[in-house]
């Protein structure tokens, strides 16, 4: 796949269709992949990478990149295409300045899970028939994919590309039984006290590094309310438990109906707080109360908080979690 992508990138750069390529670049380690913009064929040949560690969602970078001179090539995994569409719906990226190539994804590996299995010194990774072959400095290891796959990929909602100019591989399909709400349901089934304890345990670890917000493709505000001294709610470092509550509830509310459930927030959280469970609660409630809605699936669709029905459920009837 990497070869095919590299080939197309070079062709498109070569024929002048695009003047830049947005992709992934290897860092110090093969699993330490970072998004990067490649401006020349040399850079592409030198640094471009696509492997089972390329989890980062590139669509958000287009907010800035698509406003620059010339067209840019971007590679989008299925889940990234939802974010891409949502950003188009919100006029945050300029479609004409983008050439999007959809690339297949069967789930990305979680380096930390590999390490927990004792697999270190990784130099390469390949997947075949649900098994990873991991090349390490100590030799090759094989491991069942589901054992070391990122959590968000284990409950992947869709392998379908919903937006692209060109596809490498198949278009893919929506995953029907993705079970992504299992944990939400589990929490809902708890008593309020248990839920409170759960979230206290999770959110109290927050260090307000803002990584979740910075990575989130729905958080593209020119200036975040929490950074704006005039908003009346801007805050400095976390001092007190409420701060994280406020920040995370408001952040989740701001992306409610817009979050595509890409899972980047939880992926980048250095404290491993399952932030996606907040977003998924909103998604589940929206589905339950107002009918199935997948943000980014269709850029023309009206968002659930931008419309209403006269007989919508009343807040008092919504009931929340059942004990």
């Amino acid at each position: 796949m990497q070869k095919m992508m590299e080939k197309r990138a070079l062709e498109l750069l070569g024929d002048g269709t695009v003047n830049r390529v947005l992709g992934w670049s290897a860092g110090d380690f093969i699993y330490d992949v970072t998004p990067a913009v490649f401006k020349t064929a040399e850079e592409v040949q030198d640094k471009f990478l696509y492997n089972d560690f390329c989890g980062a969602n590139l669509s958000k970078y287009l907010v800035k990149e698509s406003r620059k001179e010339g067209k840019i090539l971007v590679f989008l995994k299925p889940c990234d295409t939802y974010s891409f569409n949502q950003l188009i719906a919100e006029h945050r990226i300029i479609r004409e300045n983008i050439y999007a190539i959809g690339v297949e994804c069967f789930g990305k590996a979680d380096e930390e899970k590999l390490r927990a299995k004792g697999i270190t010194g990784i130099t390469g990774i390949e997947m075949k028939d649900g098994t990873y072959t991991v090349h390490t400095v100590y030799g090759d290891e094989t491991v069942k994919a589901y054992e070391v796959m990122a959590d968000r990929c284990l409950s992947c909602k869709s392998k379908k590309h919903v937006a692209y100019d060109e596809l490498l591989g198949s278009e893919g399909e929506v995953v029907e039984d993705c079970n992504r709400f299992d944990m939400v349901e589990k929490l809902e089934a708890m008593t309020p006290d248990e839920r409170y304890e759960f979230w206290r345990g999770e959110l109290s670890r927050c260090i307000r590094c803002n990584a979740c917000r910075n990575i989130c493709p729905a958080c593209t505000c020119e200036q975040c309310v929490f950074d704006n001294p005039n908003s009346g709610v801007s805050q400095k470092a976390a001092v007190n438990s409420f701060e994280e509550n406020m920040f995370h509830i408001i952040r989740a509310f701001h992306v409610a109906g817009r979050c595509t459930d890409c899972g980047e927030c939880s992926r980048v959280c250095p404290q491993h707080i399952p932030l996606h469970l907040l977003n998924r609660k909103f998604i589940k409630d929206v589905n339950t109360f107002y009918g199935e809605y997948q943000a980014g699936e269709n850029p023309e669709a009206k968002p659930p908080l931008g419309k209403y029905e006269k007989n919508d459920i009343e807040p008092g009837e919504a009931g929340g979690a059942k004990a």
């Binding site: 406003r67 719906a89 919100e90 006029h91 945050r92 593209t220 505000c221 020119e222 200036q223 975040c224 309310v225 704006n228 005039n230 908003s231 009346g232 709610v233 701001h254 992306v255 009206k302 968002p303 908080l305 931008g306 419309k307």
Partner: protein, 665 residues
């Protein structure tokens, strides 16, 4: 830092009896920014306002807090007073310590504490207040009246009299409404037609009035002074300008079996018809549900005989767009259909009729040419039983009826009883009542005449069951004063059915954003002091759409509504509400979230250049608000994730400052 003056109103003893006003003034004087704090007996009085103005001058106040009655009462008064002293009126805030404190709390300590807290919240808000300047919008000097009954007719005539243009939209082919169906009017017993039809002619001849008959309001956009209304002119298949109203077609049409709603379906008319002889406009209409030509393409009799060539089978509904400065709802009423009250046998016995049906049976222009005959066998009835309050005064849980008194039934029943006894002295007339309600000029005298002069039997009690057997209506009823159950063999039973708002009213209210009560009557802006205005600016109420009324009351209210409309149309400019949304372009993402929730389409987007880093320019899509269109609901402010959209006068920070002040306690 603002320089704030605080004024605590005693409201006589209304506030001062429960709130220690001196203590409140003292406590609030220590709040940051407060440079003056006092109490006074009546802040809204001339001298109270002078006190405030002097303080503004002497203490160079930049903000004012008045702790008094509800801002819905006197906010405007105090703002005007401040403005006279050169202070921006929007630097004045009210703490409501009457409705929310003194009137509902008894304990003085508790009430005083709460008053202080509400005062603090208002002070906290004023600290963040900014001078606001209200924009102006022009006024379209034309009014729309929805409904062409006596209410709409009177309102339109009065507005036109003052020199303004008026359009009447009437859903039926003619104006006239319910009054056109009525025979005589109480308490004078003059003929409804004699007094109504001249008015209808006045409407037709008035150059300022345009009638859209057989038309309905389709959509309403805009706001006070600047409404844009789409009117659907329903296809009547007759060209209005060509039809001379000769009526030949209505005699020659071969389709004779069309129920005639003007006569309460007690007789039939043709498929092409003019509702009644005095119709305005006197233009025929074809009932598409019955016209053979429209249904099968075969017939065309009316077209052949129409010398004016007015028939147009191809006519389609037409949408007309018109602009108005004010809109009057005069949508009227209908009598409740008593088909849920079949203990009285309405659905099964033709001789059980409603009062409006009886009007037609007694009207010279009605199906029996004014001779009272039983619908079943066209014989003269000798015994009539009237039942009052059918569907009125029901418990709120009763699904069949209405909780209110319909107000007009006692009087029209007395009228019916009297007229029948006068014309047919051989009849016995019984009226079963719960109470006889006759508050009105010459009303009780009228009712007493029915009893004393005409010998109508008024019985305190109700009818429980009507059984039709061998041509008689066996009426089983109670007589509560004698404690008997009565069994009367009657020939006719007349039901005084409840008045209910016309079914179209709910949809019209929604279009007008005018509020309604649970019975679908329009709500007035103030039950006592603003009875002909809707709370929505520029929307006025005329007639029964606001609540049950008789003709004199309807006409009074119609004229009152007209006076309000004239007052509005006489203005060249209206001051807009300055508390509108405002988008901070530096923060706006251009994401369109706000636009989706704006009910007025007040938000537009444009690409703007912004300075980027390193002397670059960035083009960004940003929202802007049309301040003349925005009504200031604030829906957009919550939809906006970046906080770029805010509401003047109710900004995020102002509201949060109030929250903080209240929670601090």
């Amino acid at each position: 830092m603002q320089r704030i003056g605080v004024f605590i109103c005693h409201c006589g003893t209304n506030i001062a009896a429960t709130v220690d006003v001196k203590a409140v003034a003292e406590a609030l004087s220590h709040e940051p920014g407060v440079v003056f704090s006092t109490d006074y007996q009546y802040m809204c009085s001339e001298s109270g306002q002078t006190l405030m103005r002097e303080a503004i001058r002497e203490h160079k106040l930049t903000g004012v807090v008045v702790c008094s009655c509800s801002p819905r009462m006197h906010e405007a008064t105090f703002r005007k007073a401040a403005e006279k002293e050169g202070l921006n009126p929007y630097m004045v805030e009210i703490a409501n310590i009457r409705e929310q404190v003194s009137w509902i709390h008894k304990d003085m300590k508790e009430a005083t504490e709460k008053a202080v807290i509400l005062g603090r919240a208002a002070i906290a808000k004023v600290h963040l207040n900014k001078p606001l300047k209200a924009g102006e919008s022009p006024v379209t000097k034309r009014a729309l009246v929805i409904g062409g009954g006596i209410a709409g007719i009177q309102t339109a005539l009065d507005i036109a009299e003052a020199g303004f243009e008026v359009d009447i939209v009437e859903k039926e082919p003619t104006i006239g409404g319910k009054m056109a169906q009525i025979d005589k009017t109480f308490p004078t017993l003059d003929c409804a037609a004699y007094i109504l039809t001249p008015k209808m002619v006045d409407v037709a001849q008035n150059e300022k009035i345009k009638i859209f008959s057989y038309s309905e309001v389709e959509a309403v956009k805009g706001f006070v002074g600047n409404f844009k209304v789409s009117i659907r002119k329903k296809a009547r298949y007759v060209i209005e300008d060509k039809c001379t109203g000769c009526g030949l077609c209505t005699e020659k049409c071969p389709q004779k079996k069309v129920p005639n709603p003007f006569n309460m379906n007690l007789d039939t008319r043709r498929a092409i018809y003019i509702p009644f002889a005095q119709a305005v406009p006197k233009v025929a209409a074809i009932d598409a549900d019955y016209c053979t030509m429209l249904k099968t393409g075969k017939c065309g009799v009316c077209s052949k005989i129409c010398a004016a060539g007015a028939i147009d089978y191809q006519q389609k509904d037409e949408i007309v767009e018109r602009e108005y400065g004010a809109i009057v709802a005069a949508t009227g009423f209908n009598p409740l259909k008593p088909d849920k009250y079949n203990e009285y046998g309405y659905s099964t016995c033709p001789d059980v009729v409603t009062s409006l049906e009886l009007e037609r049976l007694m009207n010279a222009a009605g199906p029996t040419a004014g001779t009272l005959l039983r619908p079943s066998d066209k014989t003269h009835p000798h015994t009539l039983v009237f039942v009052q309050c059918v569907g009125s005064r029901c418990d709120a849980e009763n699904e069949k009826g209405k909780p209110y008194c319909s107000k007009i039934c006692c009087m029209y029943t007395a009228k019916h009883a009297m007229l029948i006894r006068e014309k047919y002295p051989d009849t016995e007339v019984y009226v079963f009542y719960i109470d006889v309600r006759t508050p009105g000029k010459n009303f009780d005298e009228f009712y007493r005449r029915a009893v004393e002069q005409y010998g109508v039997h008024y019985i305190k009690g109700q009818v429980g069951k009507v059984v039709e057997e061998n041509g008689k209506l066996k009426v089983q009823a109670s007589d509560l004063l004698s404690g008997e159950q009565l069994h009367i063999d009657a020939d006719m039973v007349v039901l005084a059915t409840a008045v209910e708002p016309d079914k179209s009213a709910r949809g019209i209210a929604t279009m007008l954003t005018a509020s309604m009560d649970t019975n679908d009557f329009f709500t007035e802006a103030h039950a006592k002091l603003r009875p002909v205005e809707s709370p929505t600016a520029g929307i006025f109420l005329s007639g029964v759409c606001q609540g049950p009324k008789d003709i004199p009351e309807t006409v009074s209210q119609a004229s009152a509504a007209a006076a309000k409309v004239i007052g509005l149309l006489a203005k060249d400019k209206l001051t807009c509400n300055p508390c509108v949304a405002n988008s901070d372009e530096m923060l706006c993402n251009g994401c369109s979230s706000c636009e989706k929730v704006c009910p007025y389409g007040a938000i537009t987007y444009s690409d703007k250049e912004f300075r980027g880093p390193n002397r670059t320019t960035l083009i960004r899509r940003v929202a802007s608000v049309n301040e003349a269109v925005c009504q200031g609901c604030g829906a957009c402010t919550v939809a906006c994730p970046s906080g770029a959209m805010d509401l003047k006068g109710f900004s995020n920070r102002q509201i949060m400052a109030e929250v903080d002040a209240i929670c601090k306690m």
